[in-house]
């Protein structure tokens, strides 16, 4: 057994949330490439603004976007870890609370019905897997809701097959239109149950932007869909042009003989993710 203390996780998360003050390097590269090949003048202006905004945020330690998101965590919790000093999810939330306050990030979380704000951006959304090992890997995503609101779940029937899958993904991007702050990253989860597909779709957004799937078939599908999506002429900010998406990331999971779930979770161009590994003390 290794021991990991409450405060170790809090401090790690406090550092992770600082991801809101810069685009990830892969996202930066993807936007820069998009800007170089953009032919629509308004879209090019949008991409140039996004690049200069990122440079400004990095130079002056500012949030790149005022929507610093709802904090989403994907955790791989080593089963040999003895967690000491409190509840593990409380530690994640305490890290969010401190980090968002320290960096002046927006408190965007509220009760869905009364609409009363919790004022510290908690609670976060936590997906945990118990894995082998004596450490905890924490992946953080600041998920803005201009894009999250455009999420779609399609419970296709098996007869709809791969063409149905492609049509569903294109439909989700089309109906999102200009709303999710394109150029977007399209996260797709195929298979599982309804909630498993949605979770997969979101998890795929953790992948560095444009890194292909390890599964060759999925990697080819990602490439093909990216071409189709970029032919839609939605473009950066909905201004038109050839950069509606920066990448398509697809994951799959076995499903039921009756089903073909397809979930689409869209990420705006402001990809803000970070991960860390919290090691145990002996």
């Amino acid at each position: 057994m290794s021991k990991i203390y409450f405060e170790d996780v809090v401090k790690s998360v406090e550092n992770l949330v600082h991801a809101c003050s810069s685009l990830t390097p892969s996202c930066e590269r993807a936007i820069s490439d998009a800007c170089k090949n953009e032919v629509n003048q308004n879209a090019k202006f949008a991409l140039e603004t996004i690049i200069s905004n990122n440079n400004l945020a990095k130079a002056e330690d500012l949030p790149i976007c005022q929507d610093t998101g709802m904090a989403v965590f994907f955790v791989e919790y080593g089963q040999e870890v003895n967690f000491v000093g409190g509840d593990f999810e409380d530690a994640l939330n305490e890290g969010v609370r401190r980090g968002y306050k320290k960096y002046g990030y927006r408190a965007s979380v509220l009760d869905p019905l009364t609409r009363v704000n919790t004022k510290d951006n908690t609670p976060s959304v936590v997906h945990t897997r118990i894995v082998k090992g004596d450490s905890i890997k924490i992946s953080f995503m600041a998920k803005g809701f201009g894009s999250e609101n455009m999420s779609k779940l399609y419970m296709l029937t098996p007869s709809q097959g791969i063409n149905g899958v492609k049509a569903a993904i294109i439909d989700a991007v089309k109906s999102a239109g200009s709303n999710p702050c394109p150029p977007i990253v399209v996260g797709v989860g195929i298979g599982g149950t309804a909630e498993k597909a949605m979770e997969l779709a979101k998890q795929e957004l953790l992948r560095p932007v444009g890194f292909p799937s390890n599964d060759l078939e999925l990697a080819n599908l990602e490439k093909e869909l990216l071409v189709d999506i970029n032919a839609l002429n939605i473009g950066a900010q909905g201004f038109g042009g050839n950069n509606t998406a920066l990448a398509v990331h697809i994951g799959k999971y076995p499903t039921h003989i009756s089903a073909l779930p397809v979930a689409v979770n869209i990420q705006c161009h402001a990809v803000r993710v970070a991960e860390c590994k919290v090691e145990g003390r002996q």
């Binding site: 308004n42 202006f45 949008a46 603004t49 996004i50 200069s52 905004n53 400004l56 945020a57 002056e60 500012l62 949030p63 790149i64 976007c65 005022q66 929507d67 610093t68 960096y103 002046g104 990030y105 927006r106 408190a107 965007s108 609409r115 704000n117 004022k119 201009g146 609101n149 239109g177 200009s178 709303n179 702050c181 002429n233 900010q237 909905g238 201004f239 038109g240 705006c268 161009h269 402001a270």
Partner: protein
């Protein structure tokens, strides 16, 4: 690039065409989902705590640090579509947001001779730099969703829907 300064009025907005780049100078108001809900309630019960005539409404929920605004980019305008026509009818002359609007908003813009500007979503730090000072105007309990007055200098926007209903989103 055109320059428009407060006090704002509809006449100078009428000359703007979809696709024009504009720099705004002067006082603009902010408001997003929760504030819009209250504004529309205030319009219907006659208890609006501030005036809407000749105002420009920026759809934003800013980030603050040490009493300053650090990021304030536009939020998705579509969510305000249910409320926007009531505000235009009541004297608001322009809105600033991001993304396409519904037909009801197009109709209201043409009817009232208003303009819908867009700013670049996700460029919050950039727009924060254009805010010289700010104060709360109403609904302070809403925090980031309160109505603020921003004093802006060379705040860059693009005319997305002009007063004739022409739009950069409909190529």
């Amino acid at each position: 690039m055109k320059n428009i300064s407060a006090p704002f009025n509809k006449n100078e907005l009428r000359d703007l065409k979809a696709g024009d780049f504009v720099l705004l100078n002067g006082r603009i108001l902010t408001g997003r989902d929760a504030a819009h809900k209250r504004i529309v309630e205030g319009i219907s019960n006659g208890k609006l705590p501030f005036k809407l005539e000749n105002e420009i409404i920026f759809y934003v929920g800013p980030c603050f640090k040490d009493g300053k605004i650090t990021a304030c980019g536009p939020t998705t305008a579509m969510r305000m579509d249910a409320y926007a026509p009531s505000l235009f009818d009541k004297g608001v002359i322009a809105a600033i947001g991001k993304g396409e609007r519904g037909q009801n908003v197009y109709d209201s813009i043409v009817k009232n001779g208003c303009v819908y500007f867009v700013a670049i979503g996700g460029a919050g730090a950039t727009y924060g730099k254009a805010v010289q000072s700010f104060e709360v105007v109403a609904y302070e309990d809403l925090g980031t969703e309160a109505v603020y007055a921003f004093d802006v200098k060379d705040f860059p926007v693009i005319v997305a829907i002009d007063s004739q209903g022409n739009s950069i989103f409909k190529n």
